[in-house]
């Protein structure tokens, strides 16, 4: 395994057209996917090709064979190799800035725990605020409750319109929220009857790179600039989806902390994510919540040993890179084709149903939000879930459904399907979805009736 990774890891291999992966090979790589299912929800759980799974098994067996030897001789150096590759991929300055963790939720816990301590020891004042997008992932909002609200911090949500017509929609709302955060405190000490009228600060902004539901590519670079202009102390970009479906450049984006899952769009098995922490005094305060003997050696080293566990998913990053480099254009080529096809399929569906896309194509990556026909009668989150279940159980279509809120009239779109495109998808998958919805309409299906 070692000799395949001399110099090739960090550059896109220059291959001849003849040696690119074929359609048959792609099919074989994903032959473990249930063939009866039109898999349009790559965003939730990602996918992993057979060759990367095989590499993972090799690592697992190596450990089981002689775990002491593995621990003393193999683990650290190979985790470092994975981190080095990621550092190149995301244009970080130094490999110390890259930690490997299980998932974006773990990275969030790390960043927010640091904020929590800052509230406790007075570095952040009570009533200082943390900014978050309204469409932030549910788990992130819960983490804010656990680590920030409980420690006395205020949470300010930035409302985002949906459907959207341009980035300005996002930027405008964000600027408004920052103004609110800088003015009178949202929190204050209401229990004691003292309204806090001092100017509070926004200590941390949590910004999605690609929101989950509804899925939209956020202009993070611009939002980070606004944060810097307005004196926000720390910026944390939750880019759970980003790597493998949009451009990820740490110097360009300029955030303090940035996390992305590699098991969603970068072909790694469950689960592995990276946490980027720009070298600074703040990054020194980051700690992995599971404390081991590495405590105090920096977040990257702490994360490399969170007690005895299976680290194999973190070790196969080189194998995932090998996989993407079998495609024309490597990961950039994959991204571009995914984007082009998902937009094309999205347009096909909205034409078939007479609806619209939830945002312009340039604000989508490898997923688009497709308006569903209003006569499906989706008027709540539970209706959306019922439809999703129906599509899975009766039609073999896996696609998440988003309820955007009550409509002005019965002809308005209230729900969107988030369709994805990854290298294993076929055009037939989208036709299957189209036909399933048409069938439901024909059968007079409405969510409230079922």
């Amino acid at each position: 395994m070692a000799d395949q990774h001399q110099n090739g890891d960090t550059h896109l291999s220059k291959r001849t057209k003849l040696s690119y992966i074929t359609d048959e090979e792609i099919e074989a790589e994903f032959s473990h996917h249930d063939p009866e299912v039109a898999r349009l929800n790559n965003g939730a759980f990602g996918c992993c090709p057979a060759s990367v799974l095989a590499a993972q098994r090799q690592w697992q067996l190596k450990n089981l064979r002689q775990p002491d030897h593995f621990y003393f001789n193999d683990l650290k150096s190979n985790l470092l190799r994975s981190r080095s590759i990621i550092k190149e991929l995301v244009n970080a300055e130094h490999v110390d800035e890259i930690s490997l963790v299980d998932n974006a939720s773990t990275a969030t816990a790390i960043v927010l725990q640091q904020a929590s301590w800052a509230f406790h020891d007075g570095t952040f004042g009570k009533g200082d605020a943390v900014l978050v997008l309204h469409h932030a992932y549910g788990a992130v909002k819960k983490a804010l409750e656990a680590y920030v609200a409980r420690a006395g911090g205020a949470i300010i949500e930035v409302p985002l319109p949906f459907p959207l017509t341009s980035e300005n929609d996002v930027v405008r709302e964000f600027r408004k929220a920052v103004e609110i955060g800088k003015s009178e405190s949202q929190g204050g000490d209401e229990e004691n009857g003292t309204a806090n009228r001092t100017r509070n600060r926004i200590r941390l902004a949590v910004i999605d790179h690609v929101t989950s539901m509804p899925s939209v590519v956020i202009p993070v670079k611009e939002l980070v600039s606004i944060c810097r202009e307005e004196g926000v102390d720390q910026v944390f970009v939750d880019a759970a989806h980003a790597i493998g479906c949009t451009r990820v450049d740490m110097q360009e984006i300029g955030a303090d902390f940035y996390t992305s899952n590699l098991h969603k769009w970068f072909f790694c098995p469950p689960s592995v994510a990276f946490l980027y922490a720009r070298r600074s005094s703040k990054s020194r305060d980051l700690h992995h919540p599971v404390v081991s003997h590495e405590y105090g050696n920096g977040i990257a080293v702490e994360s490399s040993w969170a007690g005895n566990r299976d680290y194999s998913a973190q070790l196969v990053v080189p194998a995932a890179v090998d996989f993407v480099n079998r495609f024309e254009g490597g990961i950039e080529g994959i991204r571009k084709r995914n984007h082009d096809v998902v937009v094309e399929m999205g347009n096909m569906l909205v034409e078939a149903w007479g609806t619209h896309l939830g945002c312009p194509p340039h604000m989508s990556a490898s997923m688009v939000m497709v308006g569903l026909p209003p006569s499906l009668g989706i008027s709540s989150d539970s209706d959306a879930l019922k439809l999703r279940t129906r599509l899975r159980d009766h039609f073999g279509v896996e696609v998440p459904i988003f309820f955007r809120g009550p409509a002005d009239d019965h002809r308005s779109v209230t729900a969107y399907a988030r369709i994805s495109r990854q290298v294993y998808n076929k055009v037939a998958d989208y036709y299957k979805f189209r036909d399933a919805v048409n069938q439901l309409l024909q059968d007079g299906f409405t969510s409230t009736a079922s």
């Binding site: 299912v37 990602g46 089981l64 064979r65 775990p67 409750e145 689960s271 404390v291 005895n308 899975r392």
Partner: protein, 458 residues
């Protein structure tokens, strides 16, 4: 809610009755003979051949049939992950938790959470202490009491979560070599006294069930009784090695928190551990927050974001495995104990040294004194010897350095003071030859007049 009795795996060999959680307590009456030596060998054929594996305590071991069950779960997820998430994951986690509840005799499955490892459990327990302290209920002189040989990660967790809030730590010396439970009880009492100096309250006592290095079985029930008498607020038992080494009855033991790794002695893949919380109220949280936050630790721990949960799902398959042995897990524990005591005795007699503790104070591991002539003078020497044995003799065994106390209790052999020990283990895959190889390797070093500092540095 889907009944946890549902059996949807196709790897169970003995039929649907295996999903009956009572298989943990009573070995099934079966017409099949107990598993044979060749089959045991086959189950562990992925272990590197030629290595005398005497360090089961660190990383544990997992048989092929449990690995196969794990692969089956992984495949189910990969085939259709949404369906797995919505329909299969929760019931399977509940099944595993219920099986573990029976093994440790917890009163209700709500008290049982599955986490990655004991290190994660320590973070959970200590974070909750930290939160309580932040509410301002603690005094300046309040303390946390623990053994000086507590696992390094636990000590670091205290540094991370207790020290910043102003708590101080009292370390109880573990007498080693140890001769009886009384010696430990006596030291522990002294530690509690120290912990209560100047009106302080002992907010948390951390007690190992089986210490790691040096390895000794601690009289936990006795110590907990003393803790309750002395007004210790919370007790956390670190039983990292316990499940599959000795009988655990959490009700009898009476701790507030009890953790044990399943991958060390209970044949699970890396990695999964059980954390028992006596009070299943919502004051403990998993540090990785998900949408399940606030629903109780067992539910929070069952979803900490997207991960591979397969190692948490194979407990029923583990029970199937252990029940192929005569006497089930109890039979395995007994044979491991008898085996390690017998081999430990063989070694100490060959080397002219001592055992670190009497047989009744060990489970499946025992400390065996190394000949003083090897001159184990510090941790570096111990590590050198361990590496030497691994590289030159394909023997994996951890080596421990114990400083002298400079009193008449210091252990001796015919040539000097004993300061080094090996911690040998016995698990179902071991053969007598493993221990004879260790015996010979050490005797060879003596014959060659080698000392630790003269060994090649790895």
């Amino acid at each position: 809610m889907t009944s946890y009795m549902e059996n949807d795996t196709d790897t169970h060999r003995n039929g649907a009755a295996d999903s009956n959680h009572h298989t943990a307590k009573k070995p099934k009456l079966t017409t099949l003979l107990p598993i044979s030596e060749p089959l045991i060998h086959e189950e562990f054929s992925h272990h590197q051949p030629g290595v005398a594996r005497l360090n089961n305590g660190s990383f544990g071991s997992c048989p092929r049939s449990v690995l196969a069950a794990q692969s089956a779960w992984q495949l189910r997820f990969l085939q259709q992950p949404d369906d797995f998430f919505f329909n299969k994951l929760s019931p399977a986690i509940l099944r595993s938790r219920a099986a573990v509840r029976d093994i440790i005799n917890a009163e209700h499955v709500d008290h049982v959470s599955l986490v990655d490892n004991a290190t994660t459990a320590a973070a959970i327990v200590l974070q909750q202490l930290s939160r309580r302290a932040a509410l301002g209920h603690f005094n300046r002189n309040d303390t946390v009491v623990m053994f000086h040989c507590a696992y390094q990660a636990v000590k670091k967790s205290i540094e991370a979560y207790v020290t910043p809030i102003g708590g101080s730590v009292v370390e109880v010396q573990l007498p080693f070599p140890v001769r009886s439970d009384d010696e430990i009880v006596s030291e522990f009492k002294k530690g509690l006294e120290k912990g209560k100096l100047n009106g302080g309250k002992v907010r948390l006592a951390i007690i190992d069930h089986i210490t790691s290095m040096p390895s000794v079985v601690i009289p936990v029930r006795q110590l907990i009784k003393i803790c309750r008498e002395q007004g210790v607020e919370q007790i956390f038992v670190d039983g990292a090695h316990a499940i599959g080494s000795l009988r655990i009855d959490v009700k009898e033991i009476g701790a507030d928190f009890y953790v044990s790794n399943l991958y060390k002695w209970f044949f699970s893949p890396p990695s999964v551990a059980v954390l028992y919380c006596k009070d299943n109220s919502k004051n403990v949280h998993h540090p990785v927050v998900s949408q399940e936050y606030g629903k109780g630790l067992p539910v929070e721990s069952a979803w900490v974001g997207m991960r591979d949960y397969s190692s948490h799902l194979v407990v029923p398959s583990i029970l199937e495995f252990v029940n192929r042995f005569e006497g089930g897990i109890e039979g395995i524990m007994k044979r491991n104990h008898d085996g390690v005591v017998k081999m430990g005795t063989m070694l100490k007699e060959s080397w002219g040294t001592i055992l670190g503790s009497p047989p009744e104070m060990c489970a499946s591991m025992i400390m065996v004194g190394l000949p003083s002539r090897l001159c184990v003078m510090g941790d570096d020497d111990a590590l050198r010897l361990r590496s030497y044995l691994r590289v030159y003799h394909a023997i994996e065994v951890p080596v421990y350095y114990q400083a002298l106390r400079n009193d008449d209790r210091d252990p001796r052999d015919k040539d000097g003071f004993i300061t080094g020990y090996v911690r040998i283990s016995h698990q179902v895959y071991n053969t007598i030859d493993d221990y004879h190889r260790l015996k010979t390797a050490v005797n060879q070093l003596l014959e060659d007049g080698k000392v630790c500092s003269g060994l090649p540095k790895e």
